[in-house]
């Protein structure tokens, strides 16, 4: 048995995802988001949180996830080394804190950097987003492009 790890389970549309709790700085209720001219579609804008500025990312736009009225929308703000580079992820609902040691690696065939691992619960499996990869420059560049294929791009760059 692996060591118990804590995750935060949330929803994008009707789909459940999770992130490692240690990567999350805080969760806030939706605030006023200022749109940025020229920013890619998945950037909802920037928001003032306490004294800092957070860039709010909306993954639903990129993956064409239909918005839902269920749940209470939240912005999940992630840890960042640089105070100026804080990123918030718009989610449709924060479900719960999940504690699990039943973790499966992502099958190689879909390995593309954004999914780190998979949590197995009693009656479901929940993909864990790799926050570090997700907001790395490479992936951000891909998110901004119209390209759906990420894996090939990453591989190409590594070579």
């Amino acid at each position: 048995m692996d060591e118990m790890k804590q995750f935060i389970q949330f929803k994008l549309g009707l789909h459940d995802y999770a992130v490692e709790m240690s990567s999350v700085r805080e969760i806030i209720k939706p605030v006023k988001v200022t749109q940025l001219l020229g920013a890619p579609e998945y950037i909802q804008g920037i928001a003032k949180v306490r004294d800092g500025v957070v860039t709010v990312v909306d993954l639903r736009k990129k993956f064409k996830i239909p918005p839902t009225d269920e749940g209470e929308p939240r912005i999940m703000i992630f840890e960042s080394d640089k105070e100026t580079e804080k990123i918030g992820l718009w989610v449709d609902d924060v479900v719960e804190i999940l504690e699990s040691n039943s973790i499966e690696q992502v099958p190689n065939i879909i390995h593309c950097g954004t999914i780190k691992e998979i949590i197995k619960t009693a009656d479901d499996i929940i993909p864990v987003l790799d926050v570090k990869e997700l907001f790395s420059n490479d992936v951000l560049a891909w998110l901004g492009s119209a390209d759906i294929e990420l894996a090939g791009k990453l591989t190409a760059q590594k070579e």
Binding site: Q6, M21, S22, V24, I27, E72, V94, I97
Partner: protein, 271 residues
């Protein structure tokens, strides 16, 4: 000859539309009887004159005999009259009639009857007025109820606002609990105790939210019921109005009837 008077019998009989019984008799028996339609006596031509009749008394006294008989004897009031017939100053028989006095007695009762009718109608009119007043107060009550159910609805709406507030507090508390958990995890072993508290806060927030949802369902139920109530009340209101209109119509009819009764009473007084 007494037989010469037979035609007289027919004349009298026919004059009264065959209602009055007419008898011609000699000194001991009936010679010719035309039995009327109202007073029927068990007598026929040739019968001896019974001692109880006016005919008998007339022969005995030689005078006109008039006798009023109440309704108790034959079930109907009548008057018997007998006149002697003389030839050359000698009584040879007589002629008698028995006629109903029903009309006269009816006319006598008419004033009191029409007075009764008038009085009864006045009572009915008063009762109808009462009904009309009751129907009106029923309609008023229905209207008040409709207003009150509207108030219940308004209160339910206010309650919903309060529940909405409770819900938002619950939602804030959940965020607080989540952040507390994150903070506790960051603190590592030191934060273990705090993590338990944070988890309790989250549990509490979730159960508050569930309760708020339940309350909202109950409020929805109340609003549905009030809506149905209002609908029913509207139906009752419509019915009450119909009753009210009908009662008014009856009242008008009774007024006309009362006027007719008064006229009748006046007419009866004149007869």
């Amino acid at each position: 000859m007494i037989e010469d008077y037979v035609q007289m019998v027919d004349v009298i009989f026919d004059t009264d539309n065959a209602k009055t019984s007419t008898f011609l008799f000699d000194l001991e028996k009936y010679i010719y009887i035309r039995m009327g339609s109202v007073i029927k006596l068990p007598l026929k031509d040739g019968d001896l004159i019974p001692a109880t009749t006016t005919s008998f008394e007339c022969l005995k006294t030689g005078e006109k005999v008039l006798r009023h008989v109440g309704a108790e004897a034959l079930g109907i009031a009548y008057t018997g009259v007998a006149y002697p017939i003389r030839e050359n100053g000698v009584i040879i028989g007589g002629i008698a009639t028995t006629g109903s006095t029903e009309r006269e007695s009816a006319l006598e009762r008419l004033p009191s009857l029409s007075k009764n009718l008038s009085e009864s109608l006045q009572q009915v009119a008063a009762a109808v007025e009462n009904i009309a007043a009751s129907a009106q107060s029923l309609a008023d009550g229905g209207q008040a109820l409709t207003l009150q159910s509207q108030e219940v609805n308004d209160k339910a709406l206010i309650m919903e606002e309060v529940v909405e507030y409770i819900n938002s507090v619950a939602s804030d508390t959940k965020v607080l609990g989540l952040n507390a958990s994150i903070e506790a995890a960051r603190a590592g072993d030191v934060g273990r105790g705090f993590a338990v508290v944070a988890s309790e806060i989250r549990t509490m927030a979730i159960s508050s939210a569930t309760s708020a949802k339940d309350i909202r369902k109950i409020i929805g139920g109340i609003q549905g019921l009030v809506g149905k109530m209002t609908e029913e009340l509207e139906k009752v209101g419509g019915n009450t109005q119909e009753v009210s209109a009908a009662v008014e119509e009856i009242g008008a009819t009774i007024e006309t009837l009362a006027e007719s009764a008064l006229e009748l009473a006046a007419l009866a007084d004149k007869i």
